[in-house]
């Protein structure tokens, strides 16, 4: 933990509140009074049942959503400034691939937007596809790939731009268990190589414990932060750790925060 703190704070969230209007014109408090810091290079999860404001929190960090109250500061700047510097990588729940582009061209898209030269783009896309194990599929089209492979392309694309902060919204929740475990290992490997900050949204306790340094437990109605749990499993994480007593304890501890917080 102290090791994390030594690296310094990257994202500061203060008294954050987001209120939506529903169709009847009533206010819906998606988030209220959220306060916490995210450290540089940390893998942090936002965990909670559906509707507790996880997506809203992630979108607010990415400047896809304006806060109604409070502030988000990233290295002292506003989310908008960071977004305009193209430092975010956002992985949506759906892969959001472009059907008319090959896998490789999909990975190259943000690099095109950033005016990188053709050779640089091509080289970087090859590297990324190699990293996610899709080297042999670069000329395929998204519809020729399975859901898991599409999500790999999505991840390759997100890491391709060398983002300072990677925001992932339930990227694996639509995948089967086997694919999910494989992608967990891949994601941790890539994260270790790149050392970026990852904010990972999930509603799956095991997934959060396996991947994260810390877990922010959110509760609904209104969405708020109810606890932060440190995950002290050693790194690199291996699948065998899921069988360890410490893993089970942590899952149990996190589950306790839920029942305490929301019922």
């Amino acid at each position: 933990m102290s090791e994390l703190q030594e690296r310094g704070i990257e994202i500061q969230i203060r008294d954050l509140g987001v209120t939506f209007q529903d169709n009847a014109g009533h206010d819906v408090q998606a988030l209220t009074g959220v306060n916490f810091d995210i450290y540089k290079g940390e893998f942090i999860s936002l965990l909670g049942p559906s509707g507790c404001g996880k997506t809203t929190l992630l979108r607010t960090i990415a400047d896809l959503q304006e806060p109604t109250e409070g502030t988000v500061r990233i290295s002292g700047m506003t989310p908008k400034e960071i977004r305009l510097q193209q430092k975010f990588g956002f992985v949506f729940q759906q892969p959001v691939l472009f059907d008319w582009r090959t896998v490789k061209k999909n990975v190259e898209l943000p690099l095109e937007i950033m005016y990188q030269s053709k050779e640089d783009r091509s080289k970087r896309a090859d590297e990324m596809l190699e990293m996610v194990g899709l080297k042999n599929f670069s000329d395929h089209f998204p519809r020729q790939l399975s859901g898991g492979m599409q999500q790999r392309v999505n991840i390759a694309r997100a890491f391709g731009i060398r983002p300072e902060i990677l925001l992932m919204d339930e990227p694996f929740s639509a995948l089967d268990e086997f694919t999910k475990e494989k992608l967990h290992e891949d994601l941790l490997r890539i994260w270790r190589q790149t050392n970026k900050t990852i904010v990972f949204v999930t509603h799956n306790i095991q997934e959060a414990v396996f991947l994260s340094d810390r877990i922010c437990v959110l509760s609904p109605h209104p969405g708020r932060l109810s606890a932060i749990v440190d995950v002290d499993l050693p790194r690199p994480r291996t699948l065998e750790m899921k069988e360890s007593p410490r893993f089970t304890e942590l899952v149990y501890e996190v589950r306790g925060k839920f029942e305490g917080g929301s019922v």
């Binding site: 990415a62 400047d63 896809l64 977004r83 305009l84 510097q85 193209q86 975010f88 990588g89 956002f90 949506f92 759906q94 959001v96 472009f98 059907d99 008319w100 582009r101 090959t102 898209l109 943000p110 095109e112 937007i113 950033m114 000329d139 395929h140 089209f141 519809r143 020729q144 731009i161």
Partner: protein
């Protein structure tokens, strides 16, 4: 039952069935007409009579056979249809783009676009002729007006089919408005644009033929009305009916073909097939590659 379903999985099987059904129905009707009328060829001749007219060497007009007459006048009509069609789809595409760029313009224009579609061609033609004062440009304009509408509405639907996730993704990259159009919106609208052209192409041809009938200076419609007034063999009329149906269908297929030619996905798949075939030949394997495209499940 299952077997029948399987047979009709092949497109050609159902096409063949339809052709056979139409021939049978036509011949039954022609037999009935022949039994009850003195000049049945004016109402419904037998198909073999029409076929005979195709190969007939008798001259129907100015030393030309029926087929020659049709093909000569077809050239003028099809060229006008083509000019109008190209004009119409270009205008349709850009209007859709402008409506997408300006929501206000869409609100003001879109409901009235349909009105264009509601005015009958034959009503529209004299008005446009009065405005332009030139029959040839009126023909082109009317073909343009008719192909314009399906292209404009379909392309606009294409722009609107882009879901929020894609906009959000581009937003996180801080992409410029122009980039969003060139890299996301326009490529997404291309298949919709082609749907529009597939509807518009035969309409441009029909319009062109219809407008020909207004004034007699060449063109299929002009010959068609002469034939109907018995200034020329009635079989010229029947030849034109079949010829224009054929050209109409062909024009739609042409659009499908052009779409496949430029679609990066189909190009990629063709390339993969070719390469597979090459490697299969070198390995003396004769299995056909199964490169399948999974369609996204309709939600």
């Amino acid at each position: 039952m299952k077997k029948i379903h399987k047979i009709f999985d092949h497109k050609w099987a159902s096409t063949l069935l339809w052709i056979v059904l139409i021939i049978v129905a036509w011949e039954i009707a022609a037999t009935v007409v022949a039994a009850n009328n003195r000049s049945p060829e004016n109402i419904l001749p037998h198909l073999y009579q029409i076929l005979a007219a195709v190969f007939s060497t008798s001259k129907v007009s100015q030393g030309m056979t029926a087929v020659m007459v049709v093909l000569t006048s077809a050239k003028a009509t099809i060229l006008r249809a083509l000019a109008g069609f190209l004009l119409g789809i270009t205008a349709g595409f850009f209007l859709a783009l402008v409506m997408k760029l300006s929501g206000l313009l869409e609100k003001m224009l879109f409901p009235y676009l349909m009105l264009i579609q509601l005015i009958p061609v034959l009503g529209l033609a004299p008005i446009i002729l009065a405005i332009t004062g030139d029959i040839n440009s009126s023909r082109v304009i009317i073909a343009a007006v008719l192909s314009f509408y399906p292209v404009a509405t379909n392309t606009l639907a294409g722009f609107k089919s882009v879901d929020q996730d894609k906009y959000d993704l581009m937003y996180t990259y801080a992409a410029k408005q122009r980039t969003i159009y060139t890299k996301v919106l326009i490529p997404s609208a291309i298949p919709y644009f082609f749907t529009g052209t597939k509807i518009g192409a035969p309409m441009a041809i029909t319009a062109s033929i219809l407008v020909d009938t207004l004034q007699g200076d060449g063109g299929l419609g002009c010959i068609l009305s002469q034939s109907l007034r018995h200034a020329m063999s009635i079989y010229v009329f029947w030849l034109i009916v079949f010829f224009s149906a054929f050209v109409g269908i062909l024009s739609t297929y042409l659009m499908t073909w052009i779409e496949a030619l430029i679609s990066p996905e189909k190009r990629g798949i063709r390339k993969a097939r070719r390469e597979y075939k090459k490697s299969a030949v070198s390995q003396k394997v004769s299995v056909c590659p199964q490169i399948s495209i999974r369609r996204r499940k309709a939600e």
